[in-house]
C-alpha cells in the first residue's frame, strides 16, 4: 500500500508576465494572470504548484521573481520553480522570492556535476529533475531549452543515470502529448516505471479529462500528476477530479 497521497500539480508555464499554454510546446497562447490562476488552483485543492519560465531570459527572470513572490504570499502549498536554472546564485534568488524547490532540465543534461552541487548545497530533497521527452523514430529523447534542442540522450538512459544521483523527484513530460488533451503517453509512462526510481515520479503532458488520469494511475503508479491545458481551459476542476479519484480508490488528499 502507498501511504503517500498522489499529488495533483498544476503546471504554470510563464512567458514574461503571462501564463501561456501551447500545443507540443508551440503555438503559445495567453491564458491569463499567473497569480490569479495560482490562487484559483490553490482554492480548488492543488497539492503543489509547478512554475516554468519558458523564456528564461534575464528580463523574464526578474519578472518571474516578482510573480513567485506574489503567489507565495497567498498560496500555502509548495511552489516549485524551473526554467533556465543554471547557477546556485539564481537558485538563492528563487528561494528568496518564496520558491520551495527547484526544477532543472537542460543544465542537468549539459553539466551533471550541477546536480551534485545543488544537492550538496540545498539537500537532495530540494531538486526535481524534469525530463522533456520527444519520440523520434522509435526512441524517446531528452530535449533541452523548452523542446528546442535535442540532447541526443535517450530517456531510458538518462533515467538509468539519474539513479546514481540522490535527486528528490523526476518529472516526465511528454512533448508529443503536451496540450493535446487526448490522454497521457502510456508508452513513455511505462519507460519511467521500468526505471524503478527510488524517488517519487510525476507524469505530465496530455491529460484532458479525469478519466485520462484514472486510466494512467490504474495501470502505472505515479506519485504526482501534472496538469496544465485541462485545468486552464476548464476541462478539469481539481476538487471534482479528486472526488472522482477517491471513488476509484486512488489515494489523493482533500482539503476542508
Amino acid at each position: 500500500m502507498n501511504y503517500e497521497k498522489i499529488r495533483i500539480i498544476p503546471k504554470l508555464e510563464i512567458k514574461n508576465q503571462y501564463l501561456i499554454k501551447g500545443v507540443r510546446y508551440e503555438g503559445l497562447r495567453k491564458v491569463g494572470d499567473p497569480i490569479e490562476i495560482a490562487k484559483k488552483y490553490f482554492k480548488q485543492g492543488a497539492d503543489q504548484i509547478n512554475i516554468t519560465d519558458i523564456v528564461a531570459s534575464l528580463y523574464s527572470r526578474e519578472n518571474l521573481y516578482e510573480i513567485i513572490d506574489k503567489i507565495t504570499n497567498q498560496v500555502f502549498i509548495p511552489v516549485c520553480v524551473g526554467g533556465g536554472v543554471k547557477t546556485i546564485e539564481h537558485i538563492r534568488k528563487l528561494l528568496k522570492s518564496g520558491a520551495d524547490r527547484v526544477i532543472i532540465n537542460s543544465e542537468a543534461l549539459r553539466n551533471s556535476k550541477f546536480i551534485d552541487e545543488v544537492c550538496h548545497t540545498f539537500g537532495a530533497q530540494f531538486l526535481s529533475i524534469s525530463i522533456e521527452a520527444k519520440k523520434i523514430g522509435t526512441e524517446y529523447y531528452c530535449m533541452m531549452d523548452h523542446g528546442r534542442e535535442n540532447s541526443n540522450k535517450k530517456v531510458v538512459d538518462w533515467l538509468k543515470e539519474l539513479k546514481n544521483y540522490q535527486v528528490g523527484e523526476v518529472i516526465i513530460n511528454s512533448i508529443d502529448n503536451d496540450g493535446m488533451e487526448e490522454g497521457f503517453d502510456l508508452e513513455l509512462a511505462k519507460i519511467a516505471k521500468s526505471a524503478n526510481l527510488k524517488c517519487p515520479k510525476v507524469m505530465s503532458g496530455g491529460a484532458g479529462s479525469s478519466i485520462h488520469i484514472y486510466q494512467l494511475l490504474k495501470h502505472i503508479h505515479f506519485e504526482g500528476i501534472s496538469l496544465a491545458a485541462s485545468l486552464h481551459f476548464n476541462k478539469i476542476k481539481i476538487d471534482e477530479l479528486k472526488n472522482y479519484l477517491l471513488t476509484k480508490k486512488i489515494n489523493v488528499n482533500t482539503y476542508d
Binding site: 501511504y3 503517500e4 500555502f76 509548495p78 528568496k96 520551495d100 539537500g123 528528490g168 527510488k198 517519487p200
Partner: protein
Amino acid sequence: MIKIGIINLKINNIKSIENASKIFGETYLINSLEDYKKNTDVLILPGNGNFSQGMKIIKKNGYDKLIFDFIKKNRKLIGICLGLQLLMENSEEASNVRGLSLIKGSVKKLNEKNLKVPLLGWYDVDFKNDIETKSFYFNNGFIVEPIEKDIIRGKINDKIPAYLVKGNIHGFQFHPEKSSHHGVKLLGETISK
C-alpha cells in the same frame, strides 16, 4: 503580542514561514546574531536542506549559543524539517558533525519498504493528543529517531516520527507553513499555546 524570531539559515525558502508566522505574532528574521531581540517569546528554526550545511551556518553565526540561552530561559523553540533534525545529536547525512543535541537521538536515512525516498508530498499524520489526523506536506530524505519515545506526539503510519514535543521544544518534520490552511493553523496553535 507574541514576538517571534525566525533564524534564517539562508539555504531554504524563509518567506513562507515568515508569512505564516506573521499571522500569529510580531515576526522578524534573524539574519545575524545582532538581529536577535531580547524579549522574543518564540524562536523558530526552520530549514530544508543538508545537515552539515545547516550546522556549519549555525556555528559560524553563533546561533547555537543563542538557542541554548533561549531554551534556558524556558521560552519556546520550534524546529521545522531540517530545523528539527538539527536539534538532535547527530545525523547519518553528516557522520562527523555534531548537532545541537537538545534532543537525545539521531537522524537516520529513511529506509522504508513502502515509501519513496525522499518523502516528498502529503502524508497523513496521526497525533497522540487532540490534534485531528490530517495530511501534511513533507520534504525530507532523513527522519529523526529520538531515544525517548514518549516525546513523539505525531507519526506517519504509526512509524515515522512527524511531531515531537519535549518541554518547550516543538519539532515538526513536515512543513506546517506549506500544508494549506490547516497546517498554518497548527503552526499558530503551537506558537500561541
